[in-house]
């Protein structure tokens, strides 16, 4: 897997990638107009440069983004994806990983662009949770806020 350098790695402490994110929310300083993601020059500690394998869901998230923004589909642009991610509040932004940001933005954009309704997405999520629970898999009760 080619090395990616997401902006979020600047805030990732070694060993915190799996499980509950342990990062703390850092207040953004400076003049107005600095968006949540626009943290260049702020202190977030050392950048985690270690390589890591991507989980299957992360690869699928990447594939979905490519398909939705591809010339044949153009459901939205990568700039739209960035806009939704940049609109997250600081707490959500700082506590989520790279692909957690992506999957939430993809979900919100397919609803924003009326490819699916919010009810359809939630019904499908409930169905998948049920199926996984019945097959004995551990299912997180956590929900991703809209």
């Amino acid at each position: 897997m080619a090395k990616r350098a997401p902006a979020t790695t600047a805030k990732t402490q070694p060993g915190t990638r799996s499980g509950a994110p342990k990062r703390q929310t850092k207040p953004r300083k400076g003049a107005g107009g600095r968006a949540t993601h626009d943290v260049g020059g702020l202190t977030f500690g050392a950048i985690d440069r270690s390589e890591h394998d991507l989980a299957l869901w992360e690869k699928r998230t990447d594939a979905m983004q490519r398909l939705l923004t591809s010339p044949g589909n153009r459901a939205f642009s990568v700039d739209g994806l960035r806009r939704v991610i940049e609109d997250y509040g600081e707490q959500v932004y700082d506590r989520t990983t790279y692909y957690e940001k992506w999957i939430r933005a993809l979900r919100n954009l397919v609803v924003e662009q009326e490819l699916l309704t919010r009810a359809e997405v939630e019904a499908r999520m409930a169905e998948v949770r049920d199926r996984h629970a019945k097959s004995g898999r551990r299912v997180s009760k956590a929900k991703i806020a809209w």
Partner: protein
């Protein structure tokens, strides 16, 4: 669906770039509502045009499912690190180069 999003940038339109390599420019210090690709730390700073990348659909409009027109000229702009960061301790000659769209740039006074 959005039309023409993500297509090849419309290079070669008739409108000439406003700046050329060697020009000194100042980045607008305005705040932003929504998506933009001009980092906070270069806003209000003065830099030097290094290269003209071409004309690209405006990401600030693409982000809201608009066609991104009029396309914007994208420049590579060089800044002195000492001017960007007040506490910079590196060499006087250190630079940072940032790609910035034309509508963020004014001639440096």
């Amino acid at each position: 669906m959005v039309s023409d999003v993500g297509s090849v940038p419309p290079h070669g339109t008739s409108q000439a770039p406003r700046f050329a390599p060697g020009d000194r420019v100042q980045v607008a210090a305005r705040p932003v509502l929504g998506h933009c690709r001009t980092p906070w730390y270069v806003r209000g700073k003065t830099g030097l045009i290094i290269a003209v990348h071409g004309r690209f659909r405006d990401p600030e409009r693409l982000a809201y499912h608009r066609p991104g027109l009029p396309a914007q000229v994208l420049y590579k702009v060089r800044f002195h690190q000492r001017q960007v960061w007040s506490t910079y301790r590196g060499s006087n000659g250190d630079h940072i180069e940032v790609d910035i769209y034309e509508h963020w740039l004014e001639p440096a006074r």
